[in-house]
Subunit: 213 residues, 2 copies
Amino acid sequence: MNSAKSEVSITVVRRLPKYYQYLKDLEMREVEKISSKQLADLMGLTASQIRQDLNFFGAYGQQGYGYRVTELKDAIRNILGLSRKYKSVVVGAGNLGRAISNYERFGHENIEIVAMFDQDPNKIGKEVGSIPIKDIAEFNDFVEKEGISIAILSVPREVGQKLTDTIVASGIKGILNLVPLDLNVPDDVKVENVNITDSILTVTYYLDDMSEK
Amino acid sequence: MNSAKSEVSITVVRRLPKYYQYLKDLEMREVEKISSKQLADLMGLTASQIRQDLNFFGAYGQQGYGYRVTELKDAIRNILGLSRKYKSVVVGAGNLGRAISNYERFGHENIEIVAMFDQDPNKIGKEVGSIPIKDIAEFNDFVEKEGISIAILSVPREVGQKLTDTIVASGIKGILNLVPLDLNVPDDVKVENVNITDSILTVTYYLDDMSEK
DNA sequence: TAGATTGTTAATCGATTAACAATC
DNA sequence: TAGATTGTTAATCGATTAACAATC
């Protein structure tokens, strides 16, 4: 775990949460060891690929034996940065923002949503679950005071870039973007896009293809 | 547009909705022509890549001129299968399912959400916007009668596979999966995963990396 | 020890980029 | 026509798969 991490390709990084999830499931089912072959079959990958992926970060297995599930899970947990806490806020208290707020911690004890922000006076002051909806005008102060490190963006497309600028100005370096829009941010800000609109079009693409055969 | 479509790599297919979105935006701004270079700069790709991508499907440009925005947009619209209608249902009327239902058509006039399904008697019979929540027990009949082609899955992780089996049994061939779980489906069913939980972990990965430098 | 499986290097495959002739 | 830009082939780069020596 050093800054060489940034040299690991995004392709590999995107597989890490999957490994983590499968290993958590295995641990819950009290599986103690697993070979790269077994894990590959489970996940739909190849054993080679798994061994290559893991070796970007270090050697976590034991020759002739395989991988200890809990040990490997904990290692990947650390690689994913989950050994420290992340306070996050949801920007945009619409339907999707409120749904995400109910996710609560995304199943990860170290990720916490502490507030939502909106500009609608009818929403400001209310709560979703136990998460308060605050005035976007107070965004900067709140981020600084609370040490927020992640913003989850769920506003209408039309104001997506504007609110992104607000988020960037606050010093936040990580954005989970749920708006179907590519955001402009400086190089030191990481944006991860979740584009439901794009995703449904890959479904229609394949459905249409099938109907033509 | 023939069954050779299925030979186009998933990497290219995933870029098609992006092209479509950018071309729609350009058309709205009344831009009439665009070169692969201009579009590449706009989208953060290379001109070569765009020309390669498009040539999987045909030659839509004009040498020495570029691409006519509306013409290319319409071509990609057809490639994405958006020239026919898709009726879809949301399975799971929780917060996320209700948020998606409010998306309405995903901005595409040919995609329609016609119903939601749940097993909670407190939800069945109610409406979200103008979309009725129906009893999951009626799923099969409804799908057949209404000619549903897409299911949007947003149920708790624990029952994700069970409901997937219900969906597959109904004959639906396209699933947009919002559950953080890999689904088992037959080869002829297309699943597109939107995994918000995995996505936030790629954010923590990069944030943690930055804090170590 | 023998068998199993990793860690790692080498080979292959696929995707991106570069180059340029065709042509509008 | 001359300039521009595509369509397409060839070169490069990166990711996946195969192979196998190391070793538990």
